[in-house]
Structures are given as C-alpha cells and as structure tokens.
Symmetry: D2
Subunit: 358 residues, 4 copies
C-alpha cells in the first residue's frame, strides 16, 4: 500500500513531482462551515518558498495556489478540498548529469531500488518541493484549529552550532521577520554569516526546529498506538532530511531522575495544571492541557557543490559535481513545514476526539 495519504479523520493525500506539471493535494475530512482565508494559505506558502535571500535557493517559485473543490462561496462544504500549484521555472537539462548517477545521501538509489525506475528531474517525487502540499493543507488545518483557540508556532532553535536564546514569549512576526526564522536577532545575524560562508564553499549544514502548540484541550491522542506524541513523531520524521524527534525533556530525560522529571499537578485558579512541563504537554500519549513542545533535528542538505565520490547505475565509480540552485540549510524553509505537519496532526486528533464518549 502506497503512502501518500496522511491522517485518519483530517486527511491529506498529496501528489506531484518537482518537474512534473503540478504539485497538489486533496484534503478529505475538513468539516463543513469553515470560512477559509485563501490569502493566508498563500501567505503560509510563501514562507517555504526558496529564493527569498542570499541564504536560500535562487529558484523562482511563484507557487500560486488554485483551489479546485470543496469550497462554496468562501466556506468549506464538507466535500474534499483539492488544490494544485503549477510547476514553473523548470530546467530539466540541469538534471541530466544525475540521470544515471546516485547522489550521496540522496533518494536516487533507494527510489530506483524500490520502483525499478525513477523520475530523476529535480529528484521527482522525492524532492522537498512535495512539502508544498503539506503547507497548504496545514494552513487549512490551522484555520480550523484557530476557531478552537489552538495555535502552533515553530522556529529555528539552532543552525549548525549556533543556538537561539529565547527569553520572551514567541511571536509569529518575530519569527517570520527573520530570514533564518529565528526570533533571536543576534543568532539570526550569526546564522546569516555562517550560511553565507557555507554557500560560497558549496557546503551545507543542519539544524533544529522547536515547535509549540498552545491551548490544546486535555485528552487528545488515541491509545495505544496513535498517541499524540507518536503521530507527531511520524509527521515530523516524514519531512525530508529529518533525523531526530524529541518531546518535552526529550533525550535529556534519559539521564534524569523520576523525582526531578515528574511534573507535579497544581490547582491554578480552579484549573488543574502542572508546575513544570518536562512532559512536553503529553502524558500517557494524551495532551494534558499544557503547551505541547517538541524539537526536530535536520541533517545538512545532501546536495553540495563540492566534488564527491559515488557510483553510477552500473556500479562504476564516478566523481560527482552537482550544479544548480540549492540552499545551504533546509531549516529556515522547514519551519513552516514543521508547523504545518503539527497542525495536520492536531486537526486530525481534534476530530477523532469527538468520538471518545457516548
């Protein structure tokens, strides 16, 4: 069974290759009656667009979204919401060099092993351009969540060895005003410098994105396999270049003691809450009403402009030199993708939650 559908109740089926006619998706399960702000979808989509600065790729993707169904007079009807964006600025000749050569740490070899053939143009379906559909669907999900008071916010926590210091509550504008999607302005500057150097050398680096989901009702998640943290983990690890996921205390928890890790319950003005949040807002796989906080680690983009050793499809050694338009770091563009996938997971569980009691 193929794997291009995400979610159970609020579902995205995604399609499209980097250099095919279009990228798009179908959202099935968005409830009727939601007034959809299309401009906001377009705005969210712009956040993942490359070509925005010196530190992202120069490919010019206008990515004008077109909705094809499921909306009547600006309101969702309960019917599936399909959307596409046409691919422009396609230069297939850029990719002939990799037609028969496997780029290291890229999907070329594995996709060919799976399917017996591959669309090599711009990595085809394996291209990160596929995430465009996630952002559109995530933006629709966000608008559904907003009427329930829920908001999600991701930001760049680190790039390479540079870490953001967050001292104040996160604000969306602080994040998206930063070219690095980092609300710490000093870190942003450092990141820009580092990425500029890397870019000039044709090298790349990784980073970490942190995401917070606020105002979740307690009880979201489905025991025992579809725990909220389990579904978030899958969502995040399905993003290109993701190598790690942790929630709340995360890997640090492995060296903590129970007596310091446990989050005591307290009564704050009539509401049951916890005085610490090592749990990252999830206990026993279900939301506890505290902010859900998780982090995703991304590897350096595998497409580098430096000569590499590899083999071709006949198994013969090759020296590979890739040319073209590529980011030195995926993280700034991935911030909105992390946010979108989180919104898809939460929208799904908000709907599933409706079935928990008689």
């Amino acid at each position: 069974m193929a794997g291009n559908t995400f979610g159970t109740a609020f579902r995205l089926t995604s399609f499209g290759e980097s250099h095919g006619p279009a990228i798009g998706g179908v959202i099935d399960g968005c409830p009727s009656g939601l007034t959809l702000d299309i401009d906001r979808v377009q705005q969210d989509l712009s956040y993942r667009r490359p070509g925005q600065s010196a530190i992202t790729t120069s490919r010019n993707e206008s990515d004008q979204i077109e909705f094809l169904s499921g909306i009547f007079e600006g309101v969702t009807t309960g019917a599936p919401i399909a959307f596409i964006t046409r691919n422009h600025d396609i230069r297939p000749s850029d990719y002939s060099v990799i037609e028969n050569v496997y780029r290291p740490s890229h999907a070329d070899y594995t996709w060919e092993a799976k399917y017996g053939l591959r669309d090599h143009r711009g990595s085809g379906r394996a291209s990160a351009r596929e995430t465009l559909a996630r952002v559109v669907a995530g933006s629709v999900a966000a608008q559904f969540l907003e009427i329930n008071g829920i908001s999600t916010l991701a930001y760049t926590k680190s790039i390479g060895t540079i870490n953001a210091e967050i001292t104040e509550p996160l604000k969306r504008e602080d994040i998206y005003n930063s070219i690095a999607r980092c609300p710490d302005t000093i870190a942003t500057e450092e990141i820009e410098q580092v990425l500029t150097v890397l870019r000039s050398k044709g090298d790349t680096t990784g980073g970490i994105i942190e995401c917070t989901i606020k105002n979740l009702p307690a009880g979201l998640g489905e025991p025992v396999f579809d725990k909220l943290n389990a579904d978030l983990a899958k969502a995040m690890m399905s993003i290109n270049a993701a190598k790690g996921f942790e929630i709340g205390s995360g890997f640090k928890a492995s060296s903590m003691k129970g007596s310091e890790h446990n989050d005591p319950f307290v009564n704050k003005g009539g509401t049951i809450t916890t005085s610490t949040n090592n749990s990252g807002g999830i206990q026993g796989g279900l939301s506890n009403g505290q902010p859900v906080v998780f982090r995703v680690a991304f590897k350096p983009i595998s497409t580098i402009m430096i000569e590499q050793d590899t083999v071709n499809s006949s198994g013969e050694p090759e020296k590979l030199v890739v040319k073209g338009r590529h980011d030195p770091c995926v993280v700034p563009r991935a911030v909105i993708i992390v946010e979108s996938m989180a919104n898809l997971v939460v929208a799904d569980h908000m709907l599933r939650q409706r079935m928990s009691k008689i």
Copy 2:
C-alpha cells in the same frame, strides 16, 4: 477513530488492561505458510517480564501465551492470529489510593479527561503491561523476517549517565545474558549498582536503547508519509515513557556539514553500498541496504516511592505516596519491546513492498 491497531499490511490489534481478565492481540495479515515456533514467542515474552532481579519489579507475571486462531498444525493459515495471556497476581487493593488522585507524569489525568472515566487499577489500559501484545506480535514478525534473512537487535545504550561501550559486533546472547540488557559487562555492573541505590531511595531513572536492523533489502518504505524512518519513529514513540527518537547521525546531524555527513556510494565486490552510515540505513525515507540504526530515549518511570505534590479529581492538593511493585528503570524491559516494534514495522513494509512494481 480509536488507535489500537498498528500497521497496514501486517497489523496488530491489541487489547487488555493491566488488571482485567487478559491482555492479548490479533495479528491480521501474517502470510500463510509460516512455521511458527511458539517456544520462541514465549521466550521473547520472558524478556519483558518483570521480577527477574533486584533491579526489576517483583510482580510475578508468568504470562503464559495462548494462541487462539490462525495456526493449523504449527503453520500460519493466512487467517488472523489471535492470542491472549491471562492476568494473574492481581491485587486491586494496591491501587485504591490512586482512585481519585492524579499521579504526576502518569496517564491518570489525561485518560480521565479523554474518556470521562478510567479504570484506575494498575493504570488500566495505560499500563506498560499492554506492551506484552507487542512482544508476541513482534516475535511472530521476527520469524517472518528471518526467512527473508532479516534480523533485529536492540540493547541498552545508556541508563542514567552510564553509557555502554560497544567494541564488537552485537550478539543476542550477550545482550540477554545481561540483566540490564547491555552487552558491555562493565556498564552492566555499574548500572546494577546505580539502580540498586535508586530503588532503595524509591527513585527512578531514564535511559537510551539502540536498535539495529540488518539485511533489509533496498527500497523499503512508502513515500512520502509512510517513510521507513517515519513509521519507525511512530512505533517507538508509541511505547510508554519514550521521549525521543533519532536515526543514524540523529540530533548530531544538526551541527554537521553536508560534506562530512554524506555517505559516499561505493562498489563493494559488485554490490552498491556506502562507505559510512550517517543515514542510518535510510535515504529519502527508503532503506538503502545498510544496517538501519536508531535510538530511543526513555524518561524515568513516573511512579516513584517518594512523597509527591499533586491534586485529586476535585482539584484539591494531595500528598501522594505510592506503594507497590515498581522498576527503578524501564529500559532493560523495553529492549525487547523496541525490537518487537521494529520487527512489526519492517514486516509491514516487506509486505507493502510487494506492490511497488507491476
């Protein structure tokens, strides 16, 4: 939609509460013709049993497995394989103290928020005893994978601040001969000491499990959402107390450069392979033929024998002192669970892979 089914083609539906009549599951999709070694299932199950030493709980769980269907003359028939193990050694009175009190960092509060009520006896369905069904199904999956030459091996990489040093190839007997499930005998000794001290203080600690899957064919995984790493992440994060997941280079990748992270393809005696394995055996979401290597971080068990602040179901402050039988660390028992979940994921993708080409 409830979440007690795991997998798509090779599926486990699990059921049972800690102190109900039985724990069990139904495996649907196991192909016909597999000669099943029931003793081995029972053996694998024994690896997750508490009561094995001073460092695990003293609850006496015999956990005799009974298969109810799907096997005829020792061979799978293609029909669903159901199994149960009866719950014994149940002392419900142990749990009356928590009937109306929320244990910190436990599932009491969130499950009650979700369902409006809860079976408080031994945490009910939220108990780690539920993982018993995962181990049985995982053991069946392992036997299916074995005829395809695939083997999975997990071990304790760290407990608290003690890290295992692995210098030689992992051997199953070295792992399971260690009470800590750690093939490093020196680390095992240190772990025993640390856990004995923690136990005497009523405290707990966390740890990390590493797992390796060998001899996977290239191409396993389903783009773009059901990537092999995404499904592994979900599987692992669905285990009680898991807080983090990483594959290959993992979180370390975030501070690496592309030029050092990329795994060059090489031709080793006619086989295309890679000279390093930062990818952890997965590229573009699909296996590349190298060993799949991942780590799971576990938090300290939340049930501690130390007095804690919390609230009751009326929101009033309470001092909680739990008594009973509890481990100082979940990690040794979770090793076989990690292995089992990995086997379920791989068996699922081995079957799904059969549909990738005409």
Copy 3:
C-alpha cells in the same frame, strides 16, 4: 492487506476457526460511558445458535461469551472490547472425508488457491461460525444505537417459494418466537413443513431477509464512496451465502418511471418527511430520516447430504457424500446476523457523522 476488520470508527476485528480453540473479536472505537447489558449480548447470540429445532442443525453450541477487556464496572471505558467464546463439541474426524476433496460451491477450493493450504476442519475460518463475532459486536452496537433512539429489526421474508405477508408493524417478539424468524405465523408453519421435507432428503434451500432501521437522523453516510447504502451492501454481501442486496424499491426500480418512483417531500407536523419510501430511507447515499429498508438474498446452503460430483486436490473426479450436522436453510439463523451487521454499519456512521461540521 487482510480483511478481518470491519468498520472505520466503530470497528470489529474478528478471528477464529470453526474447530480451533476459540472464536472472538475486538471492538475498537466503542465510546466510553456505555452501560453494557451482557445478558442481552448472550441473548442475541442465542438467536444464531443452531440446534434449536428440527429445522436447524443439531450441533450443540453453548457459545458462552467472555469479555476480556474494555469494560470496567459494567461500563465501556473507551478501550478495545475483546471477547471470545470457546469452541466445544468439536469432532474433527467428521471432516477427514473433505481433507482432500473440494465440496461444490463451498470455500475449500478457493481458500486453498489463495493460501496454498487450508484448515479443513469444519471449513476452518470459512465456516459460518465466524459470524458469532459479528453478532456479539452487533449487539454492543445495538446498545449504543439504542441510547440514540435507533432500532433495527430483521426477519425472514421468504424461504424457498414461501413468502411472508406482513400486515402489521414488526415486533421483535413475533420474529424471535418463530423458529423460522418469520412474524407471519402461517408462513412459519409452511416453512417448517418444507424444511422438514428438505432435511429428510438431505437437500437445502435459500431465502430472503428483510431489515428495517428506524429513527436514523437524516444525513448519515459519507459521500461519495462510503454511502450508507454502499456500506450496508458490503456488510450484507460479506455474510456467508449472501447472493443479492437491494434497498427500498430495489430491482423493481429498474422498470419503474421517475414520476412513480420519486418520493415527494411533505411537511408532517413541522417535520420534513416523504409521503412514500421507494428510496428505502436513503437519498444521495445519505439517510433521509425515513426507515431504512433493505433485503438480502441467500443461496441454499452448499453442504447437502446428497451424492455430488466433484474433484479432489489432484484434480481427479470424486463422488462426494458429506455426513454430519447441517441446516436445511441458513436464513432463520442469518436474521440476527443481518441485524448485527446493520447495527455495525449504523454505529460506525453515527460516529463518523460527528465530524461533518465544524
């Protein structure tokens, strides 16, 4: 992907062979808070039991149901509800004659073709005994539907060429007091006579069951594939020996005119309803608030006591004479099965309906 799970939100996973240790199932998705009347489940189960009269088989199936999970102090918890019934009165020697011979119009040949082997004892998983799990789950579903005011009632409409005349509203007691499950007492007598004769000749016959579901809210069903009538059709055609399904006017509609078939909307005391019900309670795939009425045709049971021509697994001609315990007609026992499957479908759609609006 194997097919032993039915439903999306309210799901039954069924397991067990006729002559294995047990038949059972797991209901996942039953909401928490439902007070379950176990006696009623046992009562419903007794309605499908053979051995009740001269016209049904003499196999003595006590079928004591045991619930294993998901219920705490008599109330559903939201956790999966597992149940089993042990197989008794098993005489495997009865079946050695068919070990290598394919019974005409039975599942022997096709199951062996699919799986490469088969459990021949009492047809194994292909036995109608499997429907036991459907009745248990259907009875749980019925209790969930009842708190929503919904009731389902099936009865024998015809057996062979004998048709029931229904002049008054159906009553459950009239149906289940009849050994033929037919509220028309005259037809019941005729049926008994016909079946007694058939039984003495070792022959069998078919029949038709009609089912009515009352008090459905308007709007149940999920466009465009999971229409209520589509899911009912699948549910019914998945029952052993079912050969046809029709809803409302059914096959008769094929020769009607639109002007006579259309059901005019009328306002009855403030409620929008229809003056006729050719639609059978479903329009555009969704319930319209009128009674849902459908019929299921069953073929004669294929196991007859008359000598038949067939082949063995080597393809050689054989004369087959089956001995044992068999019904002359499946219909009386299938009435509760039809009812149960209908309840599973409606319970599923009642839950899914909760997600249709924001």
Copy 4:
C-alpha cells in the same frame, strides 16, 4: 471520517463538484512500470459523456483529461497519479430554482442535513459528474489488469421493461456501438423508442446492467469482510442511482435448492473448473477462476420535467418544475462506470493477493 477514497492497495481519492473549477482524482498504489495509454483513458471517458444522442443529455462536456503526476515518459513511476478535467459549459443560473427547494428523491435534503449547507449548483458534489474520476481511475486499473490477462465487460441488460437477449459472447464493439450500450440490436431499437417517448414527456426510467470479469486467478478476495463479492457490492452501490446488486444466481438463488444450485467441480484438460456458474465466479468470498458475473439495478433518474410536490428549506409546500438538460435514463452512461468500479475492485485485490503467502 469522510468517504472520498475507494480501495485499499489500489486507491482512488476523488474530488470535485459539478459546477466547481474541476473534477479529478488521485490514484495511489498503481505499481510502477505500467505503460499508460492515455488515449484509451480519454476514450473510456467519452463513453460516460452525455450529449451523444437524443436519448442522453445535451450538455456539452468535452472532458479533456489532464494527468498531473505519477507518469514519466509514458510509464507509471509508483508515485500518485493525479488527474483533473476542467468543468466547462457551466450555467449556474439554471439552478437558482432549486437553491431553497428540495427535489424529490435527490440528494438536496440529505446533504443539507449532513453538512448544514450545500453547493446547490448542479447538485454540487452529489452530481453524477463525480463519476468521471471513477472512469479515469478505472481505465488505468483496466490497463494494469490487462497485463495480467484480465478483462471486464459491462452492458445494458434491461431498460424499463425491455430486456436484452444475449446469445453470443459479448464483444466490446457491439456494446459501445449501441447508443443504449446494449449488444442486442433489437432491444437497442426498442430502448431508443421508449426513451424518446419518455424524454418527450419529461419522464425517466430505470434499468439493469450486467458485468462480467474474465480470467481472474482463483483466490482473489480477503476473508472475512473484504470478500470479493462484498467489495464489488460496495463499489456498485456507491454509484448514483444504484438500488440493487446481485452476483451469479442472485435473488433467484433464494428459491433454489442446494442440489440444483451447487456448481460441480470438474477437470477440464488439467484445469479444475466448474460445470455451472451459479456462484458467479465467487465461492466463500474468493474468486474461483470462473467468470465473475453480477448485475446492478438502477432507479429512474429523479430529475423529471414534470411538476412535482415538495417542500422548501422552510418546510413550506412547493410545486417544483425543473428545467434543464437531463437524461431519460442513467443506464447507458452508467455501463462504463460499472465497468470502471469493477476494475478498481479487481486491481485492488490483485495487489492485496500478493501478500497472502510467505
């Protein structure tokens, strides 16, 4: 959970409203390596087009299909295959009369009950125009099945009271050369006359379509719920206006005896086959290698040009007179739709079958 996806392994997700921007779908699970004949898809699509004669509607739907993904150099890649066709010839003003009035036996009332609102233009998502996506996907499925030697053929068996006499093997050209999709030329003439008269009166009629699937391997279908006949029943009953489904002997089986209904196995030149086919090619829910034969009953189209009694959304009585472009009978256009849905079911089960044995 919404219901716009059909199939498990070979899946169609469909979208689009009659008068929205486009109708389309996404096929996920089509194996890689299939050389796709796009002209044939377009040809199949033309078979469901209205406006072909006096007996079908005069709406001019060019329905040019555009494939957006999943195909590279004419061959499927294993990636999802998305397609759209733009809606043209849209005249929304035609539909203002029904904005607040419920057409009898149409989906207006029920969809509004479900979603709280509706896109009334041309019935929106409830329009039969939705089936366009089914035909495209079915045509792709047919091409996959063809390389496995499987072929599907449906035809008009009856319209109103006129029945086709089939004396020779069905040929595709005989069916599609008939404007009524009926290979019996005499019946075709009679149908044309009857429909012309009905059309002039603004009335409609129903009919029956029979479909045969040839060269299926034995063993297709998934016990116990996803039997081949069960999935076919669902597929057919999900088509607009379908009221009944029967397989093989169908409803007639209800009055037959086992001794006349059973299909004896015989050895025909080394192949195990049956001498009769009352089973309709399916035994125990699995294909037995004989032709699968089933029938679908369709009601008369509910949109008639005759004045009807109904109510508006305030519940007030209304006289409804619909104008516009409508068929007197859905059956001729539904022939290719029945065929397409059958192909989707069989393609799905051909893939699922790959997982039945180790």
